[in-house]
């Protein structure tokens, strides 16, 4: 059942991106930023947590999940260390993800070559 939930929610989030590409003039970069910021807002409003509880990785893997991660990190850090947590929490929560992105991105750029689209 959890697989189906993850598929439905993750697929729905990606479908929103496809509709934005097809029906609006937003560039891919803007859509990516929009997704991250939406994730932050939905988490702040308490909505995204419900989605994560329901769909698990279906909600945390799409880019909105990165916004969720940032916002949740801020909430936790503010609870523990006070207001400076608003500045540090997001970075701490995202540190593992960003570190992995840079490390693996670098390794892949060394070993792999980009190919043309067909």
């Amino acid at each position: 059942m959890s697989y189906i939930n993850a598929f439905l929610v993750g697929g729905a989030i990606c479908a929103v991106g496809q509709v934005l590409i097809d029906k609006t003039k937003l560039t891919p970069a803007r859509i990516l930023v929009l997704f991250v910021v939406s994730g932050v807002f939905l988490t702040a409003l308490g909505i995204y947590q419900k989605l994560v509880d329901f769909a698990g990785a279906g909600a945390t893997i799409p880019l909105t999940g990165f916004g969720y991660n940032l916002a949740k990190g801020v909430f936790n850090e503010v609870d523990q260390t006070g207001l400076t947590g608003a500045l540090t929490g997001g970075f701490k929560a995202a540190a593992a993800g960003l570190g992995a992105v840079i490390t693996f991105g670098y390794i892949m750029s060394v070993v792999a070559k980009p190919k043309a689209k067909r």
């Binding site: 496809q18 003039k25 980009p114 190919k115």
Partner: protein
């Protein structure tokens, strides 16, 4: 009053230059498209043995120049000028592709209109008596153009439905003063035309008004009617821009639908090849002209062709500063014989 100038924007050649030979080299995707039979060579992969897309594009220019000289039975030292351009910053595909040729070089930037621009200027050089043999060559490459204008391929961005596919390919024409034909009879130089389109995924719409304007001006300046031509063909408006161009012409009382086509629409099988609105890029009109159109003229299937290459004159910087996209279109009239 200049005696060879007709009306507002058109030039009439008293001794029209001939197109002695053309050459076209295209990428693998174009080599699977509708016009695959008409190209001289299809490269096996987009890098063609080079280590970057940009170097591969320079190689396209270099090899297409060599091919057109071979087909025209001429050597580098018989060519007085080479006129060339492409889409990359500072036109590096042409600059590096031609640096070892030892031919006097004029670099041009007319975006995707560069093929018609170079043929216009080349014809004027010859009719003016400044040269006997001129090569016009332009190129584009899907992978280098994506990096230049949109996103590097590494990012793996999705494409919008109105977006066009930059053609990987290079086309060249060898113009001479000899009277063998096919001849370049008229040239109508376009004006910059900006209707305020800002969407870089919809260049066809940005360029269509420029194409319509140049076509209308060509007929007004020359007093000819569309029936005079067997084919009126624009460069890379794509499906979206082609329809806009036809509508704009109809609003101005000119119906060319039964003899009109667009290189960007013709080059790919848009349904099978997922190219959305069609092909684009300097290489689109250049390879379709050097391949399909020239061969049809030589076979006698087309007697008179009005070739209008279209360009979008924006840069990534102007796009980031939210500027609209200026369009341009240059027309070249080609006749099989002088009658």
């Amino acid at each position: 009053m200049a005696e060879k100038h007709l009306g507002k924007q058109t030039v009439y050649f008293a001794k029209p230059p001939s197109i002695r030979a053309t050459a076209s080299i295209v990428g693998p995707k174009e080599g699977k498209g509708n016009l695959r039979q008409s190209f001289d060579y299809i490269i096996p992969d987009e890098l063609w043995g080079e280590d970057s897309w940009e170097k591969a594009e320079s190689k396209l220019v270099r090899e297409t120049l060599a091919k057109v000289l071979q087909k025209g039975s001429m050597s580098n030292d018989q060519i007085e000028y080479v006129l060339a351009g492409d889409l990359l910053n500072q036109c590096i595909a042409a600059n590096y592709g031609l640096r070892e040729t030892d031919i006097p070089f004029f670099g041009l930037f007319g975006a995707c209109s560069t093929m018609a621009e170079s043929m216009s200027l080349g014809s004027m050089l010859i009719d003016g008596g400044y040269a006997d043999n001129v090569v016009c060559v332009t190129s584009s490459h899907f992978c280098s153009a994506e990096r230049q204008f949109r996103y590097p391929l590494e990012l793996g961005s999705q494409r919008a439905p109105t977006s066009q596919w930059t053609v990987t390919g290079s086309g060249a024409a060898l113009l001479t003063s000899e009277q063998t034909g096919p001849f370049i009879r008229h040239v109508t130089t376009g004006k910059i035309n900006d209707m305020g389109i800002k969407d870089t995924n919809n260049m066809g719409a940005a360029m269509a008004p420029a194409a319509a304007d140049t076509i209308l001006t060509h007929f007004a300046d020359t007093g000819l009617v569309p029936d005079y031509y067997d084919l009126i063909i624009t460069g890379d408006l794509g499906k979206v821009g082609k329809k806009i161009c036809l509508d704009l012409l109809k609003m101005n009382g000119l119906d060319i639908e039964n003899r009109y086509n667009d290189c960007g629409v013709m080059i790919f099988d848009t349904k099978q090849q997922d190219t959305h609105s069609g092909g684009s890029g300097c290489g689109c009109s250049a390879t379709v002209f050097a391949g399909y159109i020239y061969k049809e003229i030589m076979k006698g299937n087309l007697k008179r062709v009005l070739f209008i290459a279209t360009g979008a004159l924006m840069s990534p910087v102007s796009t980031q500063q939210k500027e609209s996209i200026p369009g341009i279109a240059h027309a070249v009239a080609i006749h099989r014989s002088l009658d």
